[in-house]
Amino acid sequence: VTMATNNPSVFLLTVNGQIEGANFPEHDNLYCKYCYVYGHDWAPTTGLEEGITQITCKNSQTQRLVWNFPLETTFKSTNPFGWPQLVVSVYGPDVFGNDVVRGYGATHIPFTPGQHKRSIPMFVPEPTWRLQKFTGWLLGRRPEYTDPKVVAQGEGREVTRVCSQGSVTVSFHIMSKDMKKMGYDVGPSHVHSATPD
């Protein structure tokens, strides 16, 4: 897309960073999936939109799961509505070796340019019945969201019950271009980062 630099019609948002790790006190050998949820006026231009990390297991000392999985995506947009959200879901084997979900979580990509660190609390849906909890445990079929992206939407969540699990730490390095020119002021750091045109 060739845009006149003076009159941009889109602004760009570059998300660099990494899914650093997680803290799941009860589980081990987990991997993480990520994807973005964004509005109609957003489109990823470069970079991976979704990905799966390696399986990592805990160090006996730190009790932390480390993925250090890089994120690198650039979005273009015309409208801040539907600002991208990072949706992460963590999976891992249960006692019987079935791959079950260990947590869902989402966070908005930070607005302001610069470095940010986010700790995303994770949760999983709860079975409706006790019995289901048991059979689910036995058969490795835990309740899952129909779509991990559900956690990035507000509608309809009232029908679910969830249980908190742990947290995932993500660091972001945000750059944005032309936002100010289009009239969106996202904070003081933006002013300083104004590049000479």
Binding site: A43, G136, P143
Partner: protein, 1659 residues
């Protein structure tokens, strides 16, 4: 007191005393008469008083004796004085007893009066209680009391006489008798004996309790002669009680009969005794119970000393036997179990709630024995059964004890506690925000130093006077200190001197203006000062006079009462003066004053005079004017002729007549000349009044408290009682801070000078803003304390710090009414010091509290007060009210009142720019120009939150786009990248949308080809909109399954082998089974899909009965052979080489070519699927209208060479494909079914040129058809991945509870019915209620009603009902099908009635089925609606008819009919049958029609909805009574026909862009002629004849073609159908085409469209 003579003497003395005291008593009586109720109240409602009074008797004997002695002494003293006193002798002299009554202590007299009043009251039921009801005092109005008093007095005298008379007659024997009788109880014996002794003591004092007590204690001694005399002479009247009763009744009735005076007299005496609180008389005499009660009452009121009842006896022994006997009377509950029948009401069986499935809590554990005992005990009680529950056990609450400890065990607390649980102690920190708060480290010191009563109820009269004196003296001291009169005198003198000087200096000459004014000012000043000085002097003098007067009163009182209570002594210091000088000064002063006054008066006079003159002048002028006026008038009136002589008269007349309307100034009065002689006189008088007379000694009062107080031993009894009372009292002070008690002083006893010293300092460390400080003064008597007064202390200024703050005195007072029977004057009681009782004053308890409240000082000498700058009040208000919104709430912002209230409370700074708006608002509001709106706005801040105006929003293209997208308008639903600026938004975007909007208004005739249909489409659109709106909310209602995928628990005990078993079985199953079965795949929600992700999997398995080629011959003659040689062809020839071509969304895939009429392909075709606009949401997918066309073609290979019957590989061949038939499956069906599996009937054209069906069809009624008659293809269609179908919105609607007109009971029943059905047979559709077009729930049977089909069908075959039936079925099938999902943009199932259906000309299978069923019913058939599942439709509706030959199943959308046992019947399962009066649910083992019984009367096969238990409530039908059919215009039909033909021809040419398309006109016309015949025969039985005809006509043309038949709805499906046949794909250069269209009109615009398409190739 030894002899009777003494008594007589004493009586005489007492008589005189009486006379004197009567004065006071009268006054007391008056008061009593005025406020009887108050009196009674005080007497009774103040137990403290009673206690105080009774406490007199409590102390030991010595005290009583001294008291008595004192009183005697005082009496004597008074007697000696009585000659001085005025005497009012109103009473008879012989009235002896009254002397006692009116004892010197008037308080006591009061008391007796009062108690007599009480005792007169009728002995009501409640009288037995210790105190009479205060309300009873209502009866005692003034009149009654006075009346009674009079009566009493009369009676007393008479009674007295009688007593004396009877005394002599009284016989001791009788007395003895009485005594004997009375010694029934120990109590009485003990009582009577002392009575007898007591009598002798002093008869008049009999009622004096103390005396009696004394006597009682003297029992052990021998009675004195006097006592015995009295005892024996006393009159014991046995019949008194009765009389007394009657007397009481009389009194109650207020009837005083004179005739019974005597009796009354006696009665009154008795009462008097009672009034004197002497009860022994009555105890002796009374047998009446009521009186006993009364006595008891009196007994209890009086505080007997314990000795009175103390009796020494030997220890009681109860023998063992009697004890056993006594104990046997006690109830000992049995240990045995109580039978349940006893515990329950009669004829009731124990009911155990647990067994009924109700939850019953666990009962607490009780041992059986205890329970038995308890039960036995309870049963002994009245209503003992109420303690037992239905189960025959004692009703108990569940065991409250939790089984497990709620506290987590912390076993290893000491050793290794988890680090996360380790607690770390942190020092409490002060909030960093709190420093500026007034809730800092502040301290208030409250120093309570002391208390002085200026009046206290225990003040004696002397105290009252002394307090007055002290007060006056205080005044005097302050006045003397300020010395105002002295100052003023000096000032006056100074002024006078100055004035004199001025006058002296300037003499009498003309003074300059300024000086004159100065003189005037001086004189004015002199006048004022003199006035002030006079006033002050007068005050001084009166004060001095008052002091002396009060002091004199005190002295008199002290003398009178013979003791001194207060230490005050007033000394008057005399200061002798030089008489001459004094006189001189005095005279001089008077003279000066007189002169001054004269001068002033003169001046005044002059002024007034001047004024007068001025006024007079004015008046005269006015008068003149008036005269002039009148003259003028007169002249006008009378003209000039009038004589001037009677001017005066007229003047008068005129003035009279003029008077009313012109008021002139009044005629001034000349001022009076002051009388200078009287002035001096007046001045002198005044001087003598206010000033010391010349030569008079100057008196300087000095008050000292050096006097001695008479010791108690020397005081009379009443005073001693008072002093004792005082000494009993103590006071303490509670310190209340913000209405909370923070501390209290120790209780300090009240000193005899009524001062209390506390001198206690309290340090209050405060955290909250001081709002109020309150000191409460409490008075304590014994252990009870009462609040005397409250003193509110202002919160000190921050600058007031301990040490520097002076002690302040705060006055307090209390309006409590207190009265005593001793020397205490009481409070709120009228009190008079005048001998005649006038000049009464009412004194209230009051005093001064000295205390000092100040801010404390910390250790480092820093005042612990809030900073001075911080206004306490503001800070305080700042806490709660600083924020307007939090204070009054956001909604209150529109309430001006509240705002202003808040503003005043929070003391907004009007100059603060932050407050400018509020101030402005308030200003406007207070000016009344703006009133609060009287309407209510839900979002009153909406406008403020709008970031763009509505116009801007309208104008901006970008905003419009955003809004449309947000609204979910289809065109923009998934619009990506709305440009950031309006300028970049192109108009193009909206074009389509705008056009659509426009089109909705103007119906596009081109598309609909029919004006009626256009209207219908519009109507449909409207309904759609409304329904969409209705469902929008339902869509946003999420279910758990929408969000969470959860493995369902396999049904336990159902068909499966349980959860575990099933899965174990799964584990064991072979990895690669020989006959693999399709498994359910995981469903995927369509959210994260994109184009290319979704594929349609179509598994084409095999086909049956495909038409075979006819032996192709160029020769015309051969055609006749074909029929004959059919069987040979079958063997020898290649019959057909069919392949299947699947087209979906313009993607075309085909299978390999197979051989023969029953080919087996077994191939899977994958077709990509792309959703419109890339919208893979559920709604997006549901709105996909595309259909899957599965076409069967025959691959025909022609050799290009002319050689026949020789097939060489080298020869050019030409492959043609001939369409044989098609199956059409809408995508929506696949989507909603998620998989389609089955044999489909191939839609073959009625005539297939060049092909023949293997078995010719039979021209008979449908049910004679053989099952293998049609062509069938077996398919399996599904999607990859499996998409979660939008589950029917019905479920959600149910939750939303759409409104319904159905009975609530019916709806509930239907819900239970459906739920039960779904639970048992989840795959069998069961529908009892449906939703109509208005979105209302309607019971399904209401749709079934016989309806008349169009008359022409009935007329067509009057003799053949079967034909008519087919016609009707065909008619119904010609109404276009339109799935509800498509028409209503959502998976909802709306049922329209038949007339709506016919108007809309579009509907689901249900509508078709209902209409068909209704027609069949009209035709007299037994017909039911079948709710079941079929392929490919899924859940659908069919019609079942019962005819003599059996049951038939009709597919309403195709008009086809199947026998029950037809294996190719598309109906797979039957869920329920519906008739007009019932619904039957299929509970048979099998659900397929082949294996079923249709006997609905058998309830083991069919479960009826309406049964005997729930009968049909007589539901009326929603269908119209009769359907109105419109005659369809034939001309319109032919018009449409032409247009369709034209469009199709254009389309065919369009589809062949590279080749010329030639139309064979001849063939066209032949085909056209042929089509109506096809319509007439409904596509049957014309093929052969037709073929022959064609063959003949067309000669050697090789012809391939077929007629297509379809119901008409729109042009698009027709085009699609034509396209799918692929006729246009013939690439041969010499191909010609023939096309014919025929539209046959049926009533109500139902159109049958025939399209005949053929390709002709010339060989």
């Amino acid at each position: 007191m030894a002899s009777s003579r003494d008594i007589l003497e004493k009586l005489a003395m007492k008589h005189r005393a009486l006379q004197e005291t009567l004065v006071k008593n009268k006054h007391a009586d008056d008061v009593q008469a005025l406020v009887p109720s108050a009196k009674v109240n005080v007497g009774k409602l103040q137990p403290t008083m009673k206690a105080a009074e009774s406490s007199d008797e409590d102390p030991g004997e010595t005290l009583k004796r001294t008291l008595r002695a004192q009183r005697q002494r005082r009496k004597e003293l008074l007697l000696s004085k009585s000659s001085v006193q005025e005497s009012h002798n109103n009473e008879e002299t012989e009235e002896v007893s009254t002397i006692k009554r009116y004892s010197p202590n008037d308080k006591l007299a009061d008391k007796t009066e009062e108690s007599s009043v009480i005792s007169i009251k009728p002995p009501s039921g409640s009288y037995g209680s210790a105190t009479p009801q205060p309300s009873s005092s209502v009866f005692l109005d003034t009149f009654v009391t006075q009346h009674l008093q009079e009566k009493l007095r009369a009676a007393r005298s008479k009674g007295e006489k009688l007593q004396q008379l009877e005394a002599s007659v009284q016989s001791p024997s009788r007395l003895q008798q009485l005594r004997d009788r009375d010694t029934v109880t120990r109590f009485d014996t003990r009582q009577v004996d002392p009575v007898g002794a007591g009598r002798h003591d002093d008869p008049p004092v009999l009622h004096n309790r103390i005396k009696f007590r004394e006597a009682a204690r003297r029992v052990r001694d021998l009675p004195t002669a006097e006592e015995s005399y009295n005892f024996f002479t006393f009159n014991f009247e046995p019949d008194r009680p009765n009389e007394r009763l009657s007397r009481k009744r009389q009194i109650r009735r207020k009837s005083a009969e004179e005739a019974r005076d005597e009796e009354e007299g006696k009665a009154a005496e008795v009462e008097e005794d009672a009034g004197g609180e002497d009860d022994q008389d009555e105890t002796v005499n009374q047998s009446d119970e009521a009186h006993l009660v009364q006595n008891a009452d009196d007994l209890f009121v009086i505080d007997h000393s314990p000795q009175d009842f103390l009796v020494v006896k030997k220890a009681e022994y109860v023998s063992y036997h009697t004890r056993i006997q006594q104990e046997s009377e006690l109830f000992t509950p049995s240990f045995r179990t109580v039978p349940a029948s006893v515990k329950l009401p009669e004829n009731m069986k124990p009911r155990f709630l647990e067994e009924e499935g109700l939850y019953v809590g666990k009962r607490p554990a009780i041992s059986l024995t205890n329970e038995n005992i308890l039960e036995n005990r309870l049963l002994k009680m009245d209503e003992g059964r109420k303690w037992f529950g239905d189960d025959g056990r004692i009703i108990t609450l569940p065991d409250p004890v939790k089984e497990s400890s709620t506290r987590p065990p912390l076993a290893d607390m000491e050793e290794d506690l988890h680090p996360a649980l380790q607690t770390v102690y942190r020092r409490p920190l002060k909030s960093m925000y709190g420093s500026s708060d007034p809730t800092g480290d502040y301290q208030i010191d409250v120093n309570v130093s002391g208390l002085i009563f200026s009046h206290h109820p225990l003040f004696s009269r002397e105290h009252v006077l002394a307090a007055r004196l002290a007060h006056l003296f205080d005044q005097y001291l302050t006045r003397r200190q300020s010395n105002l009169s002295g100052h003023l005198t000096d000032k006056l003198n100074g002024l006078r001197n100055a004035l004199r000087n001025v006058v002296k200096v300037h003499g009498d000459q003309d003074l300059p203006q300024a000086l004159q004014r100065r003189i005037f000012e001086y004189s004015l000043e002199v006048r004022n000062t003199r006035h002030l000085r006079d006033m002050e002097q007068e005050k001084d003098r009166t004060l001095l006079k008052n002091i002396i007067k009060v002091w004199k009163e005190i002295k008199a009182l002290r003398e009178f009462q013979t003791f001194t209570n207060t230490p005050y002594k007033l000394y008057l210091r005399r200061e002798n003066v030089d008489l001459a000088a004094d006189e001189h000064m005095y005279e001089e002063e008077i003279l000066t004053e007189a002169l001054e006054i004269e001068a002033e008066h003169e001046e005044d006079y002059q002024k007034k005079l001047a004024e007068y003159k001025k006024q007079q002048e004015e008046w005269k002028r006015w008068r003149k004017k008036q005269k002039a006026k009148k003259k003028k008038k007169k002249k006008k009136k009378r003209g000039q002729t009038q004589d001037d002589t009677d001017e005066e008269d007229q003047d008068q007349e005129g003035s009279e007549s003029e008077g009313p309307f012109e008021e002139g100034p009044p005629k001034p009065e000349p001022p009076e000349r002051p009388d200078f002689d009287s002035i001096e006189q007046w001045v002198r008088e005044k001087a003598s009044r206010i000033r010391r007379k010349p030569g008079e000694v100057i008196l300087t009062p000095e008050l000292s408290a050096s006097g001695s107080i008479t010791p108690s031993e020397l005081c009379p009894r009443a005073e001693v009682a008072r002093r004792e009372d005082v000494s009993k009292r103590s006071l303490f002070i509670k310190v209340l801070y913000n209405d909370k008690e923070v501390s209290r002083t120790g209780s300090c006893s009240l000193r005899s000078d009524f001062r209390v010293q506390f001198t206690q300092l309290f340090h209050l460390k405060i955290l909250n803003c001081p709002q109020s400080m309150n000191l409460q003064v409490f008075e304590q008597i014994g252990s009870s304390s009462s609040l005397l007064a409250q003193v509110f202390v202002p919160v000190p200024e921050p600058s007031v710090v301990t040490g520097s703050a002076p002690v302040e005195t705060f006055e307090f007072s209390s309006n409590q009414r207190v009265m005593f029977d001793h020397e205490g004057v009481g409070s709120d009681v009228p009190l008079s010091f005048e001998p005649d009782g006038s000049n009464k004053v009412i004194l209230l308890t009051s005093g001064k509290l000295a205390c000092c409240v100040s801010w404390g000082i910390g250790e480092d000498d820093v005042p612990r007060a809030p900073p001075v700058s911080q206004q306490l009040g503001a800070a305080h208000s700042g806490l709660g009210h600083l924020d307007a919104v939090t204070y009054i709430g956001a909604s209150g912002l529109y309430d001006m009142k509240k705002i202003s209230e808040w503003a005043t409370q929070s003391r907004l700074d009007p100059n603060d720019p932050n407050n400018a708006s509020i101030m402005q608002l308030l200003k406007v509001a207070s000016s009344g120009e703006v009133t609060a709106p009287d309407y209510f706005r839900l979002e009153h801040l909406q406008e403020e939150f709008n970031f763009a105006t509505d116009e801007e929003m309208e104008k901006s293209k970008r905003f419009r786009l955003l809004r449309l997208r947000h609204q979910g308008v289809p065109e923009f639903r998934n619009y990506k990248f709305v440009p950031a600026f309006s300028s970049e938004t192109s108009e193009e975007v909206f074009k389509e949308y705008d056009r659509r909007l426009r089109d909705e208004e103007i119906i596009n005739k081109e598309e609909h080809l029919d004006s009626h249909r256009a209207l219908v489409a519009r109507y449909l659109q409207k309904i759609r909109e409304s329904v969409i709106n209705r469902f929008i909310q339902a869509k946003h209602h999420y279910l758990l399954s929408d969000l969470v995928v959860e493995e369902e628990i396999p049904s336990i005990g159902g068909a499966g082998s349980g959860i575990l078993g099933l899965n174990l079985f799964k584990l064991a199953e072979p990895k690669r089974p020989l006959k693999p079965q399709r498994k359910e795949r995981k469903k995927v929600t369509a959210q994260n899909l994109s184009d290319g992700d979704v594929r349609l999997l179509i598994n084409i398995i095999r086909a049956h009965n495909i038409p075979v080629r006819k032996p192709h011959s160029n020769k015309p003659g051969q055609s006749s052979q074909s029929a004959i040689q059919g069987s040979e062809w079958f063997i020898s020839q290649v019959q057909v080489k069919p392949f299947v071509e699947v087209s979906f969304q313009r993607t075309v895939l085909q299978t390999t070519t197979a051989d023969g009429p029953n080919p087996s392909w077994n191939e899977e075709l994958q077709l990509p699927f792309s959703a419109p606009n890339g919208d893979y949401s559920t709604t997006g997918l549901q709105s996909v209208k595309d259909e899957v066309f599965i076409n069967i073609f025959d691959e025909v290979v022609h050799e290009a060479a002319a050689s026949n019957k020789e097939r060489r590989p080298s020869v050019h061949t030409q492959t043609e494909k001939h369409w044989l038939g098609s199956v059409k499956i809408p995508f929506s069906t696949i989507y909603s079914q998620s998989r389609i599996d089955g044999a489909f009937r191939v839609n073959t054209p009625a005539v297939l040129l060049g092909y023949s069906k293997e078995h010719g069809s039979f021209a008979a009624y449908d049910h004679f058809r053989k099952p293998n008659e049609g062509t069938f293809i077996r398919l399996f269609i599904t999607m990859e991945p499996q998409l979660v179908p939008g589950e029917a919105i019905r479920e959600k609607i149910k939750e939303m509870t759409f409104e319904s007109q159905e009975d609530e009971r019916l709806l509930q029943a239907s819900e239970t019915f459906e739920r039960a059905a779904a639970l048992r047979y989840p795959d069998r559709p069961c529908i009892t209620t449906v939703i109509d077009l208005n979105g209302k729930t309607v019971f399904i049977t209401r749709y079934i009603r016989p309806l008349k089909p169009p008359q022409e069908f009935l007329d067509a075959f009057p003799n053949n009902p079967q034909e008519a039936t087919t016609l009707v079925a065909r008619y119904v099938s010609l109404i276009p099908s339109l799935p509800d999902e498509l028409s209503f943009c959502g998976p909802c199932d709306l049922w329209s009635t038949c007339d709506q259906f016919l108007t809309l000309l579009a509907g689901d299978e249900e509508e078709h089925a209902v209409l068909l069923c209704n027609y069949f019913l009209f035709l007299g058939k037994k017909a039911w609606l079948i709710m079941g599942t079929a392929i490919p439709e899924g859940p659908t509706a069919y019609v079942l008819t019962h005819e003599p030959s059996g049951f038939f199943i009709w597919n309403p959308s195709s008009g086809q009919c199947f026998e029950r046992d037809d294996t190719f019947c598309p109906l797979q399962t039957i869920g329920c049958l519906v008739s007009s009066d019932n619904v039957w649910f299929n509970i048979q083992e099998k659900a397929s029609p082949v294996n079923m019984s249709f006997d609905v009367t058998n309830t083991s096969w069919w479960k009826p909805f309406f049964s005997r238990s729930f009968s049909h409530p007589g539901l009326s039908s929603v269908q119209p009574e009769e359907l109105v059919y419109f005659h369809t215009d034939r001309a319109a039909a032919s018009d449409l026909q032409d247009r369709i033909e034209k469009i199709l021809k254009e389309k065919v040419m369009e589809w062949r862009p590279r080749h010329p398309t030639r139309w064979n006109r001849y063939c066209n016309s032949i085909l056209k002629q042929f089509l109506p015949k096809l319509e007439l025969s409904r596509g049957q039985d014309v093929a052969k004849a037709h073929r022959h005809e064609l063959q003949n006509l067309l000669g050697d043309y090789r012809i391939a073609g077929f007629p297509l038949h379809m119901p008409f709805s729109e042009i698009r499906p027709i085009i699609e159908a034509v396209y799918s046949t692929g006729v246009h794909n013939v690439q041969v250069s010499n191909v010609e085409f023939a096309l014919a269209v025929y539209v046959h009109p049926y009533p109500s615009y139902v159109l049958s469209v025939w399209v005949y398409l053929a390709s002709l190739t010339r060989p």
